[in-house]
Symmetry: C2
Subunit: 328 residues, 2 copies
Amino acid sequence: MPPPERPAPRVTVLAGGFGAARLLGGLVRVCEPRAVTAVVNCGDDFVLHGLYISPDLDTITYCLAGRLNAETGWGLKDDSWRALEMLQHLGGQSWFGLGDGDLGTHLYRTQRLSEGAPLSVVTAELASRWGVEVRLLPVTDDRLRTRLVIDDGDRSGTEIGFQEYFVRLHHAVAVRSVRFAGATGARPAPGVLDAIADAAALIIAPSNPIVSIGPVLALEQVRRAVAQRRAATVAISPIVAGAALRGPAGRLMSELGHESSVVGVARLYAPLAGTLVIDEADASLAPAVESEGMRCIVAPSIMHTPADAAALAHTALSAVDRPAVPSR
Amino acid sequence: MPPPERPAPRVTVLAGGFGAARLLGGLVRVCEPRAVTAVVNCGDDFVLHGLYISPDLDTITYCLAGRLNAETGWGLKDDSWRALEMLQHLGGQSWFGLGDGDLGTHLYRTQRLSEGAPLSVVTAELASRWGVEVRLLPVTDDRLRTRLVIDDGDRSGTEIGFQEYFVRLHHAVAVRSVRFAGATGARPAPGVLDAIADAAALIIAPSNPIVSIGPVLALEQVRRAVAQRRAATVAISPIVAGAALRGPAGRLMSELGHESSVVGVARLYAPLAGTLVIDEADASLAPAVESEGMRCIVAPSIMHTPADAAALAHTALSAVDRPAVPSR
């Protein structure tokens, strides 16, 4: 009789959208996909035209299914736009891109939620239909909403939802403050706390620290659980050479009083992660990162290709001191 | 100075879906479209995948816009099906046909309703975008739902919604009873009672008397208003040679204890309409119709072409004794 197979060490990723999706695409090349859990931001979720839309969960699901439109970073590749064109013809709100195939996902999710299924269950159903083996968990099944107070002429002081900021206003307005409505009462979705506690390695994906990882950590229980695993936690900086590769992370950090640099990232993550991976472009800042109390690893962190993503995932995993399953 | 133009006599049609849509398409060829009002069944309306769907309003709007898929009698012609195919791929409910372009309509309506716009306002917006000049009014802005108790093996005695009966079960099960949930408290939409009171001619379209015209007349105020205009009201029988041309009208009438014939139709409509138009195929039943207390007009009533529909509309209008605006 052969000896029982040793279970693959578990890896859990705190995830936003596109950057996390790319990293996960690399991670499944260097470890067993079924041993990977992604705890995904759902503060971006919103209801539009009656449909419940989960942008980050969709981006990750489509990416791992090999169906993501990689040019835009959202939606299905080779999708068509007839419904949106009709909505435009009718004078409806058409600022949020809804491809025809992508709509099928939103219709499915909305119907299942209306039947009483929790978001985590619906997410698992969708992942399963796409053959995605990574376990995808929304951080919560409860309502969690990222809200931003903007500084924009007549609308200054107005609080808006994340998608309105990010998509409708192209994140081109100043932000005064960010809050995560519902975070206080929201319970982590089933499996989230265990996935953090049981992981051999915990990775904070190179997602926006404020509005992608922020909502995940806004759940006090999640934040505490991550802090308890600090030694096994590796964050990857989404800031390279002082700016985000994509999206408003750099600008948001500055506007909210953080330094838009790997040092600013280190200050945000130092209580939670023992290690920060920064890009070679920022090598000179490694001592400053270390002086924030984090181990600093300098490595290529721009994921041009899946092979780049796999190498970055490997770097992050190698950074964890003891990749064995913890004693808990 | 030329004399002021005499306003076109107003015509109001109590309408279901496809049969009414065809008739309205004919009516606008024989009278001024802006003088025509359709009071439309919304007992078929339902929410699926989070979207508020108004099948009869859509069928009429698309038909008058020249965009109806005339083969199916619902949806847009030349539509695509990517969202529905995705929904099937995901294992979702895909029994209700939702074309990609058609989805744009449902998205628009659902968003506007969620913003607090009444159904009648949204209906007018949609009609306006399509250039439809006929005034389309849902019979009510309140919730009205056609519910059927079916007789079907294990499910006998179960009450289901209209679309589940009509589309999902292909109206192939026996029906024990029909009710119109919400009819007691529902108020006629703004304009409905005036459109009935002020019309020079009132036409009951050749729609299903039980489940298409039934919900419209289930509002007591509407039924009373129509009864008061009995002399100006002409019904067109949807039953020809003992059966409906389309759909379950004949079967439903029999199952609910009515005669599936023009005489059965006459018994239902005699308190409301002074005249019944029946097809030439039923000419021999004209005396029986008249013995129910209605004037009977025998004319070709099958609308193969828009010209047929126009001729039928002309027949109905000619039947009204006094097409002048009433004294009210």
